[in-house]
Point group: C2
Chain length 417, copies 2
């Protein structure tokens, strides 16, 4: 925000490095998951995120079950930390006027309405840029702002189905499965953040904002990564991968004596040899290191089923602690298949401060995932709780804009906020 | 790069908007997937990405099976478009010297070595920032640069196992499954790009670069999103989701008469009612809209198994085209579970230019996924092919740096490049 110190409360004391997005203000109209997951990253990086919600209603995720902390949805609390809460009826003329005033002192408008909603409100990029050419406008929608499917609703599961993720998740011959993390939604937020950050950087060079359109389906195509790439050059349709890999053998989850699973990853000759050595110490498995069927990567691909069967038998003879010790000592890349309780109590995860606490005025203290963007100079250690509906109305309207407390009271009475 | 026009070939003609990262130069030491998937985004956004590889060896993914286009790995070709190729032996003194000269005219150093590798080379952030405080340094590793697990190797499957994704992917009572897209790796690249872009923006304000450390495991914790959030507030360990959802019913994949699947997403009352109407037109399903067991969201959660059974029976009576028509007409959010061939030929995907072509000097023309960051002013329509090993040595060393062609020949003889 060169030359526009419009966010004085974020000035830091001399000597301390400001957070990377200090001074950036985001008007966040997004709801549910794809949008808010992304805009949480802006807040974590130090931007001032003004979450704008419909008066009396708010983000639909404020009502998402199943867990509520003193009436506040845990889902909402998690996805909306480090944001401020503002209500605004964008259908009213006064609401539009306030929104335009906010645009004038902001850097980014960020929304995940269906295409056309902002146009009908007269608040689309085309209308806003006339007034404020520096504004960056990012929309996230199921299918983007143009094309035959643009008006369709979209949910995470549909997007994972359409984009091909479900077709490669699960086990061969079985029904398709969803990826357990909602990547249909999350991917949209992640790329939206990249688009906005690139546009912020570009604006430093040009002085101009621009429009970014993120389609959840487009993002799935990008996330196909090498899986899609291999299809595009070969025309061979990939099958569900289970816990394994077609061409790097052995990779997979094997069940131990107590029912828990270990995922091993031995894509290289060296790692396979390490694994075979560890397994050979078990009774009846002494021949594995010299078994000619598994001597090279090509042979292991050919005899994958037989190797997997041997490994399944071997893993069933010991419990997870014994395997952890033996595999670590033998330098075999492997990991217990953790449930979320195990994942979130891993000492490495705690060391990296990936579980942080917020203190909410109504719900009290609650934990959420930390930021995985660790910056040595400017890491954010402040995790403010998700806002109550309209919690910062007064602060924003009288502090950032120049309305009087009486005017704000009037807006409230008239349903503008 | 305020005031440093060190990249004159990227100047654009007056009137045309430069790509958002025009003028940004990234020294990309990363290999395999997590790193290159991220740095491809820099290139797509207009940065000059110099991919630096070991002379005579190169990125290990140059040899990744199973498909090769005239000797070039399809995997490598896909993940490394819009990058230039430079070889450099970083263990030689001359190689280090050249690297330092490159740092002087670059913005970002980006690597995914195991922690400690760059320190041993004397090229870690601490050493580089002394010479060039504007440099931004981003490392991606399995577990980050500190903590009890920092020195461990990491592969996508292990990361998905440790971070909890496998525990929620697959079907209840069955073995854990990997997410079909390699989110253990991809997530690292996606957050690394965010960190670098945020640091680039911050540098415009402060004049200083900074260090960013991305841990693949940290990223998994972030990608747990609301799944992790609900665990953190409730202590209830989530189970594999299959193709369904515990608290939004009905959601799931149902098999049609020809064996293909449809994913339906009816998390709201209205969408459920639409679905029940469509289903009720089938013989024997006329009662569904009035069935009291499924009248409210709460009742549908309670009677999920019975509802899923009815839907499974109903879907088996018709083929996918009939379902597509009926569900669209009835306004039921749904999508065929596409394989990759179907996903990549969807008219919407093609309309959005999500399949693009590159022309490689050896391999010829090949397709890859487009960029999902659609910027109306500055979208990149140029997709250069992945580089040959050392393809741009001459250009970079004599053009960007000031070595003579004779010196470059000498570097080659001595194994420096």
């Amino acid at each position: 925000m060169a030359g526009q110190p419009h966010n004085p409360e974020m000035q830091v004391s001399p000597g301390a490095a400001a957070l990377p997005l200090s001074g950036v203000r985001v008007l966040d109209l997004s709801q549910a998951l794809a949008g808010p997951f992304g805009s949480r990253i802006f807040g974590d990086l130090g931007a001032e995120v003004l979450k704008i919600e419909q008066p009396g209603v708010g983000d639909s995720s404020r009502r998402f079950p199943p867990y509520f902390l003193k009436g506040e949805s845990a889902y909402f609390l998690g996805m909306n930390r480090n944001k401020k809460g503002l209500t605004l009826n964008l259908k009213s003329e006064k609401g539009k006027e306030i929104f335009r005033k906010l645009v004038r002192v902001s850097d980014v408008v960020y929304e995940n309405f269906r295409p056309g909603v902002m146009d009908r409100l007269g608040l689309d990029y085309g209308a806003l840029k006339e007034m404020y050419p520096r504004i960056i406008y990012c929309s996230i929608s199921g299918f983007g702002t143009s094309g035959p499917l643009k008006d369709r609703p979209a949910f995470d599961g549909m997007i994972q189905a359409m984009g091909g993720a479900m077709s490669v998740t699960g086990f061969k011959g079985g029904p398709p499965a969803l990826q357990g993390f909602p990547m249909g939604d999350l991917g949209g937020g992640l790329y939206a953040v990249q688009g906005v950050l690139a546009a912020l950087y570009a604006r430093e060079q040009t002085g101009l904002g621009q429009e970014i359109s993120i389609s959840l389906l487009d993002v799935q195509i990008a996330l196909q990564a090498h899986v899609g790439q291999l299809f595009l050059v070969s025309g061979k349709v990939p099958q569900p991968i289970g816990s394994s890999h077609e061409t790097n053998v052995p990779i997979g989850a094997f069940q131990t004596r107590d029912g828990s699973y270990f995922q091993i990853s031995c894509p290289t000759q060296k790692f396979y040899e390490n694994l075979a050595q560890v397994i050979s110490r078990l009774d009846g498995f002494g021949d594995l290191p010299c078994d000619p069927r598994f001597a090279t990567p090509e042979l292991r691909i050919k005899h994958k089923a037989e190797l997997d069967e041997i490994l399944a038998k071997a893993f069933a003879t010991r419990g997870p602690e014994e395997w952890a010790e033996a595999l670590d000592e033998g330098q075999v890349p492997s990991a217990k298949v953790n449930n979320l309780a195990e994942a979130l109590s891993n000492p490495q995860v705690l060391h990296r401060k990936m579980v942080v606490e917020q203190d909410h005025p109504v719900s009290g203290k609650y934990k959420s995932a930390g930021s995985p963007i660790k910056m040595t100079q400017t890491e954010n250690e402040t995790f403010n709780p998700a806002p109550l509906l309209g919690q910062h109305n007064q602060e924003v309207l009288t502090g950032l804009l120049d309305y009087s407390p009486e005017e704000v009271e009037g807006f409230k009475r008239e349903g503008v906020i």
